[in-house]
């Protein structure tokens, strides 16, 4: 019997090994062929260029960067920019998407219609057009630097971006951070205590308000006790533009807005389908228990929608990361834009395209892994 089973398994294993072997062989052939072709045409190859001075400027960078830095550093700046805009877009698109999804099933006719119009509008227009629209609208409506809007003292809005004072930490800021940490720990302890109290007695503490007070109050107190250890670098108009302070450029704003509006439409539909998948009996039961509509949504319905939402939303998140490459069209220096410049200066297209693929693959695999983990957490557990 044992021998028979072994034989039965042996054939599929052998064929599978053969297929994998054949694929690897073809890949190896392609690689060798490319190398030989490149060499025959005297074309530079390899990743040595990453340690060469880039000479290229990048206007929007989260890392310290100057043209004297290497191509590798420039590409890293691009990766960080891609990650940053993707991560921020995912958070905002999720928040907006949940709102839209809930609004879609709202009993309020106007709210439900508006949400439907929003979804149909953004889901059916190519993202590139949405981006162009956001960008050119921003540029058309914002004034030139000399006519800047200034809604708050030290904050200036013009077609070069939103300029705000940049805080500088002075000595004593450590105390404020410490206070913030203590407040956070306090809030966590409080939430636990409140949950235990609710489980035992049915009445919790108003933990939300107390936590808010703690987190806002303690650091503020520390700030004044430590002698106001923050200094502000206020932007000032100098020559062609504002200098100093922090700046949020229109390219980034337009990209973020476009990605969030577009992806939120899809996430909204996921949330709607999730909500509609929850059995109506759950709603009736929650009502019978006397929960208020807001609490029903937050504590009964939404947690159950996750099972349906998460797999579809994983797709939308990975699409968003890939879509962020459209940044090149509106001048935001993401990884594809910077890689494109490297190709322009270097003409080593194959290497840069390989890097792009590797980075997107890595980001999206990690993202999918995380989302699968979340999915496993909210799966129905059979008892």
């Amino acid at each position: 019997m044992q021998a028979f089973r072994l034989k039965e398994q042996l054939v599929p294993i052998l064929t599978q090994t053969l297929v994998v072997g054949a694929i690897l062989y073809v890949a190896l052939l392609l690689f060798q062929n490319t190398q030989a072709n490149l060499e025959a045409r005297n074309i530079a190859s390899g990743f040595g260029f990453l340690s060469v001075e880039s000479g290229m400027p990048i206007n929007d960078s989260l890392l310290a960067y100057a043209p004297a830095d290497t191509y590798g550093r420039a590409f890293l700046v691009g990766i960080v920019n891609t990650l940053f805009v993707s991560a921020l877009s995912i958070v905002l698109a999720t928040a907006l998407g949940v709102l839209v999804g809930v609004a879609r099933v709202s009993a309020n006719w106007l709210v439900a219609r508006l949400a439907a119009v929003y979804v149909e509008l953004f889901r059916n227009i190519p993202l590139l057009l949405t981006l162009f629209f956001c960008y050119s609208t921003l540029l058309a409506f914002l004034p030139a630097p000399r006519q800047s809007l200034s809604p708050l003292a030290g904050v200036f809005i013009n077609n070069r971006g939103v300029f705000a004072p940049r805080p500088h930490w002075l000595d004593g800021m450590g105390w404020v951070v410490l206070a913030l940490g203590l407040a956070a720990i306090g809030a966590v302890l409080l939430a636990r205590r409140s949950k235990r109290l609710r489980d035992e007695t049915g009445r919790g503490l108003p933990a939300g308000w107390i936590s808010l007070g703690l987190i806002a109050g303690l650091p503020t107190l520390a700030y004044f006790l430590a002698g106001r250890p923050i200094d502000f670098d206020v932007p000032t108009l100098h020559g062609f533009n504002f200098k100093g302070g922090m700046v949020l450029r229109p390219e980034f704003t337009a990209l973020l807005t476009g990605l969030v509006l577009y992806t939120a439409a899809f996430i909204g539909e996921n949330v709607r389908s999730g909500i509609q998948s929850v059995d109506k009996g759950q709603l009736d039961a929650a009502k019978a228990l006397g929960l208020r509509p807001g609490s029903i949504m937050r504590k009964v319905i939404l947690p159950q929608t996750l099972r349906v939402c998460i797999p579809a939303t994983t797709n939308d998140y990975t699409s968003l990361v890939k879509n962020s490459s459209l940044a090149v069209a509106i001048g935001y220096p993401d990884m594809v834009s910077i890689g494109g410049t490297i190709i322009g200066q270097n003409d080593q297209a194959i290497e840069v395209i390989g890097l792009w693929m590797a980075v997107y693959l890595t980001i999206n695999l990690v993202l999918s892994l995380g989302m699968n983990w979340c999915n496993a957490k909210v799966r129905l557990v059979e008892r």
Partner: protein, 337 residues
């Protein structure tokens, strides 16, 4: 998307057979058409006209080569290529000949292409709005500049800023149109690319009079058509067709009088050039009427220039460096003998 185009090119390079390629001349003659890499639409150089026919300086260059090789100036298949694609398209053999691009050492030595003849001496410059009140590029400290990616524009503008100790904020766009629009909309104070293209874009702007091109150029951009590295016969052929067009201007041979000159000219150089005597055509594997056909198709170098950039065109770029060496320019053909 352009990224897909780039990927396809890379794949094309991957899939090529390792063996030596057949000669381009043979390939062109067998297929009966010249595959010419053109731009995605740069007025003056290569852009579709109102009838959808490709026209411009680089297109004329292609017509001249097609006329010499195939005896049919229109036997051309046009392949529009983005800046980033053009080098790989030529080195992989996807196109036989590409529009002029900047001749650099790295491209020549390490990118698998060979350059032929510089047909247009260009340089990167800056365009600003007249209302800005700027007259020199060095007055732009702190200004922002719209740049087009895929060329060495970013590098040149950064080098210029570093060399002159001024700060320029660059905003990099994938397409020339978007970069120019951002500049017109006021997102940036200036717009930079090669001067010829600045002129080309200004000619198409809503109000050309409100933009000025600053006098400084901060790069050398010798634009030369280029071919695949390693096909010496094809490179020689293209090179000498182009020298022939330049020589024709120097000798006063035009589209209108070329047959007349061939029949009547007593100048031995003209006789050799037009194949009345000697056998220079065979040096490049062609018959003796090769240059007559090329000149009949597009005229001499000066006529080609005037058709695309001359005073009667919207671009109106003065000849400057692109005048014959005998008239103070840099255009100089090697002797044809």
């Amino acid at each position: 998307m352009k990224i897909i185009g780039k990927l396809l090119l890379a794949l094309a390079l991957l899939a090529l057979a390792t063996g030596a390629m057949a000669g381009t001349l043979e390939k062109v003659q067998q297929s009966g058409e010249l595959v010419l890499g053109v731009s995605e639409g740069v007025a003056g150089f290569s852009a579709p006209d109102s009838n959808g026919k490709w026209a411009g300086f680089d297109v004329d260059m292609g017509h001249a080569v097609a006329a010499a090789v195939l005896k049919n100036a229109d036997a051309i298949k046009f392949v529009p290529l983005a800046s980033k694609q053009k080098i790989v398209a030529v080195s992989s053999g996807q196109v036989d000949l590409s529009r002029g691009t900047t001749w650099t050492m790295k491209r020549d030595c390490k990118q698998g292409v060979d350059f032929t003849v510089v047909l247009f001496y260009d340089g990167q410059g800056l365009m600003v709005k007249k209302s800005l009140g700027v007259t020199k590029a060095t007055e732009l400290d702190g200004a922002s500049v719209a740049v087009v990616s895929g060329t060495t524009s970013e590098l040149n503008v950064a080098d210029f800023a570093r060399a002159n100790n001024i700060k320029l904020e660059t905003v990099v766009f994938e397409s020339k149109k978007e970069a120019f629009n951002a500049y017109v909309a006021g997102r940036t104070d200036a717009f930079t690319t090669d001067v010829s293209q600045l002129a080309s874009l200004r000619a198409g702007a809503a109000n050309p009079g409100e933009h000025i091109i600053l006098p400084e150029t901060f790069s050398k951009e010798p634009l030369s058509p280029f071919v695949r590295h390693g096909d010496q016969q094809w490179k020689d052929l293209v090179t000498w067709v182009l020298f022939g067009l330049i020589e024709a201007e120097e000798k006063g041979i035009t589209q209108a009088n070329v047959l007349d000159m061939k029949a009547k000219s007593q100048d031995p150089a003209v006789q050799r050039l037009l194949g009345a005597t000697g056998d220079v055509g065979s040096f490049v594997g062609l018959d003796n009427d090769w240059l007559v056909r090329a000149i009949q198709a597009v005229g001499n170098y000066g006529e080609m220039y005037d058709r695309s950039f001359g005073p009667k065109t919207a671009l109106n770029i003065p000849r400057g460096h692109n005048n014959l060496w005998t008239k103070g320019g840099l255009i100089y053909a090697m002797p044809i003998r």
